[in-house]
Amino acid sequence: MSWSYVLDLLRISLHAMVPITLTATGEIIGETAGLFNIGLEGILLMSAFVGALGAEAGGPIVGLLVGMGTGMAISFLFSVIAAYWKGTQMVAGIGINLFALGFVAFGLIKLGAPGFHAVPAAAQLAKLRTPIGAVSPLIFVALVVPFLAQAFLNRTRAGLILKAVGENPEAADVAGINVNLTRLVATTFGGALAGLAGAYLSVGWFGSVTKEISAGRGFIALATVVFSGLNPILGLVGGFIFGFFQSLATWIKTLPTKTIPWQFVDMLPYIVTLLVVSGVVGRVRFPRALGTPYKRE
C-alpha cells in the first residue's frame, strides 16, 4: 500500500468532516439555548440545492451565502414555531425534512434531469493547492469555527446568556433576558452554519446536486452533538471521526481489490455512528430545558 492511498484517505476525511462539523457546531449553539432541531437533514438538502442555484447565478461565494441564507430562513421558521408558538420541536423538524425531500426532488426535475444536477465548474468553489493535494478552503473554516464557538459559549456574556436560557429559562426571564428572542437568534445562527455546510456539499465538494445529497449527514451531525456533549471542540473531533469512516467507505470502494460488496461498505459510517453514540451516552449532560418551549407562568 503506497503513501498516496493514505494521503487520499486523509484528504477525503477532511472533506467529509466539514459538513458534519459545521452542522454540529450550529446545532450545539442552538441546543445550548434550548431548541432541538432534527430538521438539520432537510436544511442541508435545501441549502445544497438553493446554494447551487445561487452559485450558478453569481459565483461560488454567492452560492455559499445563499446557502447560509436558506439555512437561516428555515431555522428562523423553525424557531418561530418552536419558541414563539410553543410548537412540538420534533414534529416541526420532521416537517422540514419531508418538505425538503419533496422540494429538492421537485426542483431537480424542474432543472432538467430528475434526481441529478451538475454544478458547472465555474460555479464551484476553487480548491487550494496543499502538500496533501487540492483541498477546499472550507476545511480551514471548519477547523476554526468550533474554536470560535467554544470561546463564544464560554468566554462571552452572550454565550453565558445562551446557557442560562437553555438551563433555566425562568431565571433568565426574571433577569430580564428575552428567552424566546435569544432562542430564535441562536437557532437562526446555527441554521446559517448548517446552510453553509449544505452549500459546501454541492458547491465546494461534490460539484453536483442529487436528491439524496445529504445522505443522513444531518442526523450524523445530531449524533456528533450527542457525542460532544455540547462542547464544540469535541464536535470537531466527532466530525472528523464520522468523516473518516465515511471516506473510508468511499476509499475502500476505490481499492483495486473488491472483497466486500459495496452495500456493506456503505453501511460502515452508519454502524460506526451507532457504536460511537452508544459508547458515550450516559456521561453526557444536556441543558435542562432542552426541547421544551418556555411558557411564562
Partner: protein, 381 residues
C-alpha cells in the same frame, strides 16, 4: 333565566359551537391540510404551473370515480401501517422514525416465501408472519440501544434505516434476485399473494390487514391494561413509574408493535401490490413509505381511527399525484405531493393552529355573541 333559554337560535348556535370544539383536533388537521395545499399552490404558481388545474387533476385522479377511489385506498394501505408504527411509539412517548427501514426488511422477508411451497391460504399467512417478525426484529435494535445505552431513538432509528436500505439493496442484488430478471427479486407465488379486491386496480385484500391492525392497536391501547400503561408512560413517565408501570416494558412493547406494523406494510407492498409481486431494484415501491406514514400519523392525530381517515387523504394525494403528473401540457411532477406533505406536517407542529388566526377566532366569537344577544355586562358577570 339565561339568554340561551330565551333565544332558541342562540342555543342552537352554541350547540354548534360546542360540537365544533369537540371536533377541534379534526378541525386542526383539516386546517393543516388546507395550509399545506395552499403552500403547494403558492410554490406551483411561483414555478410557473397552474395550481388550480393541477389540483383539479389531482382531485379527479384521487376521488373522481370508483376506480380512482380504489387506487387511493390501495395507496393508503401501507401508509396506515407505517403511521401506526409512528403513533404507537409516540403514544408511548418516543419518536420512532424507523418505519422506513422496517418496511424494507419486512418486504425482503415477505419475498422469502417464494422459496417454498405451501397451500394457498397458509402460504399467505406465513408470508405475513415473516414480514411482521422481520419488522419487529429490526425495531429491536433501536429499542435495545435505548434501554441499555440510552441512545436517543431519533438517531438510532435513522441509522438503522440506512443500514436496512443497504442490506436490502444487497439482498435484492445478490440473494433474492430473479435469475431471469436481474432488475427485480423472485416473484411471490400466486398462493402467497393477497387476492385483488377491485379488478384493474392495485387494491387487494391487504386493505383488510391494515384495517384489522388499526383496530387491533385501537383496542390494545384504549381497552387493555397494557395499552393504558403505554399511554400513561407516554404522558408522564415519572408518574407512571411511581404508579408501578415498567417503563422499560412499555418502551420495548411499543417498539416491537411498531416494528410489526411496518413489517406488515412491507408485506402489503410486495404480496399485495399488483403487478410485480417482487421488490424492484432501487426499492421504488418501498421508498419513503415510512416517512409519509409519519405525516399520516400526525394528521390522524396519532389515533388509529384518525389514521384510517388521514391515510385515505394521503393515499388520494399519492394516487391523484400520479394522474396529475401526466395531466395537461405542463404537468406537475409527483414530487409536489411530498412538498405538500411536508408543509402539512410543519403546520401540524403548531399547537392550536386555529389560534394562529386570532382575528378569525375573534370574529367567530363576536358572531356567536351577537346572535345570542348576550349583553357584555351579563357576560362579565
Amino acid at each position: 333565566m339565561t339568554a340561551s333559554e330565551v333565544q332558541p337560535g342562540g342555543r342552537l348556535l352554541r350547540g354548534v359551537h360546542r360540537t365544533l370544539t369537540g371536533l377541534h383536533p379534526a378541525l386542526e388537521s383539516v386546517l393543516a391540510a388546507v395550509v399545506g395545499l395552499l403552500v403547494g399552490a403558492a410554490l406551483m404558481y411561483i414555478w410557473g404551473y397552474d395550481p388550480w388545474k393541477a389540483y383539479w387533476a389531482l382531485l379527479r385522479g384521487a376521488y373522481g370515480g370508483s376506480y380512482e377511489i380504489a387506487s387511493s385506498i390501495a395507496r393508503g394501505v401501507p401508509l396506515v401501517l407505517t403511521a401506526l408504527t409512528f403513533s404507537i411509539c409516540l403514544r408511548g412517548g418516543m419518536f420512532n422514525i424507523g418505519a422506513e427501514g422496517q418496511v424494507y426488511v419486512g418486504a425482503a422477508a415477505a419475498v422469502c416465501v417464494a422459496y417454498f411451497k405451501l397451500p394457498p391460504g397458509l402460504h399467505l399467512l406465513v408470508g405475513i408472519a415473516f414480514a411482521a417478525v422481520a419488522g419487529a426484529v429490526w425495531s429491536l435494535g433501536p429499542a435495545l440501544l435505548k434501554l441499555t445505552r440510552g441512545v436517543h431513538e431519533v438517531i438510532s432509528t435513522i441509522m438503522f434505516n440506512w443500514i436496512a436500505r443497504f442490506l436490502v439493496f444487497y439482498l435484492v442484488a445478490y440473494v433474492l434476485v430473479d435469475a431471469r430478471q436481474g432488475q427485480r427479486t423472485v416473484q411471490i407465488p400466486l398462493s402467497a399473494r393477497f387476492p385483488v379486491l377491485v379488478r384493474g386496480t392495485d387494491l387487494s385484500y391487504s386493505v383488510f390487514l391494515a384495517v384489522a391492525f388499526a383496530l387491533f392497536v385501537y383496542f390494545l391501547l384504549w381497552h387493555t391494561a397494557t395499552g393504558y400503561e403505554v399511554r400513561a408512560a407516554g404522558l408522564t413517565p415519572t408518574a407512571a413509574r411511581y404508579g408501578g408501570i415498567s417503563i422499560r416494558r412499555t418502551i420495548a412493547l411499543s417498539f416491537v408493535l411498531g416494528g410489526i406494523g411496518a413489517g406488515l406494510a412491507g408485506a402489503a407492498t410486495t404480496m399485495g401490490l399488483p403487478p410485480t409481486y417482487a421488490i424492484i431494484s432501487g426499492l421504488p415501491q418501498l421508498m419513503n413509505l415510512g416517512f409519509d406514514g409519519m405525516a399520516v400519523a400526525m394528521v390522524g392525530r396519532n389515533h388509529p381511527l384518525g389514521i384510517l381517515v388521514a391515510a385515505l387523504f394521503f393515499g388520494g394525494l399519492n394516487a391523484g399525484g400520479r394522474v396529475m403528473q401526466f395531466y395537461g401540457s405542463n404537468p406537475v411532477p409527483l414530487e409536489m405531493v411530498r412538498v405538500v406533505m411536508g408543509a402539512i406536517v410543519l403546520a401540524m407542529a403548531i399547537p392550536e393552529l386555529v389560534r394562529v388566526f386570532p382575528a378569525m377566532a375573534a370574529s367567530g366569537r363576536a358572531l356567536v355573541r351577537m346572535l345570542s344577544r348576550r349583553k357584555p355586562a351579563e357576560e362579565a358577570a
